[in-house]
Amino acid sequence: MTADFLLSLAQAITKGLLTGMVYGLMALGLSVIFGVMRVVNFAHGELMVVGMYLAWMGFEYLQVSPMLSLPVIAAVFFVAGYALQRTVISPFIGRPEHQQFLLLLAIAILLVNACLAIAGPDSRGVQLESQFDSYELGPLVFDAVRLHAALTAVVIAALLWLFFTRTRIGKSIRAAADNHMGALVVGLDVRRLYAFTFGVGAACVGAAGALMITIIPVTPFLAAEYTLLAFVIVIVGGLGSMTGALLGGLLIGVSEAVAGLLLQPSLKSMVSFGILILVLLLRPQGLMGKRGQ
């Protein structure tokens, strides 16, 4: 092993960790939604892609950097998620999985084709001024955009953690997730909490989309890929666990980057699916999940 190889490996791992933070934020949204209301959001990647398109539009037509439009997109996603849960998804809570699956599949088809109808099939990216900037730490080089995106994702995840541990509504949501009946008995408005949760989950993935557009350009066809990716990450990390989602994001980010270096870039998701199969068989509750959940 030459020093050159080790350096490029370290470089790939760094890149994977940075992208992995954004993956983690995306998966966090899925994990929160499932953890609280046991609904599997099969439209998650589609939401991500919508977030990416909104950030792209803000940049293209209003000249607003995705980092600045991020709070607006998160807010819009929160409201849209809240409304979607209140109107369409709410009756499906507790229904058989295949019915939820079909419902969210229909929503996914609508979302991704709305993107296609509005923005077309071409890939759309943003050209930031910091595109070619980088920071150096010893021999390692950090892309500026990737680093900014990763740091922002960490900040948002920290805010989310504060929300769930320090605020009254965050604690109520966790209570409703732990014990649905108990939450009803003590008088929590569980239906409103569920809508709030879907809003929070959607805001996470919308923010992740705004960050992701600074790293790679978007096409409607990315949506299904991201849905699968988000699933792989939360299962690997532990469905319903917040730290698990972030850890899974980092792991998958690194495995993709390293597989891209050692094998071929087109084989990278094969490694992710391999990891998924191993985790499902050896530790189905995920790396950070508790048994019996």
Binding site: L102, A117, I277
Partner: protein, 332 residues
């Protein structure tokens, strides 16, 4: 009781007459339908057949598979590859295709059931295997890699090599659809079928009263995979091309699940009614979307239709029709 007697036992006479008339109409249909009409009917029968196969696993035994493209893709690739490279005819290749898909089903099933994965977790395992195989085939030269595998188009009817025009493929898929329908009826009426329903409703209770749960689930996945592989072989020879990107796509797996879910999970007519509804809607939307010049508009119509159906008829269209018109087949 004779087999025929057992299959028709308890079915009202008018339902049998109805079925007979339907079959007769389907048998003579190619004489009256144009090229377009025939191609639509072929699609309906194809989705009815694969829907029936998928329904065995989910509708009967309650195991959600979202990776059935794996079995269809394997089947299609093996039969087409043998034909392409060695000139082995599809009827012979079918055995290899079915064996491979059944083995793949057994592996997925064994791992999933042995490690007691249920619901979404099991569904993800099936997706993971299907995606894994897709990427592997993308990089495998023998099957043409991501460039695809192409069979020579030959319109002279040759039953032995399954080469010919749409009419030949129509009768093959009709025979398959009828066969799968009868097989499913027989399975449902058998002890195995009752075990499946017990497992679907409550696996723990079934285990407690002595149903061999693991073995029954394994049989379900193997039968379902084998039947799906036959559809894959038919599909490969009908379209004459195979790409990993489509053959193993998650979209393909989802396509297989739609007809039974829309039609009515766990019913015999559900997959058929669902296939009629979905293919019909698809054709209508294709025409409709030509009025607009917006990309993706057809899929938007389609998504809206799915949304409306699942919101207002979550148990499927067929149980509702059957109830309304007193055909009596309910989800069991």
């Amino acid at each position: 009781m004779s087999l025929l007697h057992r299959l028709t036992d308890g079915v009202p006479l008018r339902a049998l007459w109805g079925l007979g008339l339907l079959l007769a109409a389907l048998l003579v249909a190619p004489a009256f339908l144009g090229k377009y009409g025939l191609s639509v009917l072929i699609l309906v029968l194809y989705f009815a057949y694969v829907g029936q196969a998928w329904n065995i696993m989910m509708g009967f035994a309650g195991q959600l598979s979202l990776g059935h493209a794996l079995y269809a893709g394997l089947g299609g690739y093996i039969a087409a590859g043998l034909f392409f490279h060695y000139g082995v005819g599809p009827w012979l290749g079918l055995f290899a295709a079915v064996a491979a898909a059944a083995a793949a089903g057994a592996v997925v099933g064994y791992l999933g059931f042995r490690f007691s994965l249920a619901g979404v977790y099991f569904a993800l395992l099936t997706i993971a295997f299907s995606e894994f195989t897709r990427i592997a085939f993308d990089h495998w030269g023998w099957v043409g890699g991501s460039g695809g595998l192409f069979l020579k188009v030959d319109a002279t009817a040759d039953w032995l090599n399954l080469r010919g025009g749409p009419v030949l493929f129509y009768y093959v898929i009709l025979a398959l659809a009828v066969g799968a329908f009868i097989l499913c009826r027989a399975l449902l009426e058998s002890r195995l079928g009752r075990y499946w329903l017990a497992i679907r409703e409550d696996a723990e209770a079934a285990q407690a009263v002595g149903v061999p749960v693991f073995r029954c689930k394994m049989i379900a996945v193997v039968i379902s995979a084998a039947l799906t592989a036959v559809a894959g072989v038919w599909n490969a020879f009908y379209y004459n091309n195979l790409f990993p990107e489509t053959a193993f796509a998650m979209g393909r797996s989802i396509e297989f699940t739609l007809a039974p879910i829309i039609g009515g999970l766990g019913t015999l007519f559900g997959p058929i009614v669902g296939a009629v509804v979905l293919t019909g809607l698809g054709e209508i939307f294709t025409d409709l979307s030509e009025l607009f010049h917006i990309s993706g508009i057809k899929q938007i119509f389609y998504g809206l239709a799915l949304l409306i159906i699942v919101m207002y008829r979550p148990a499927g269209v067929w149980p509702w029709i059957a109830d309304r018109f007193g055909f009596g087949e309910k989800r069991r």
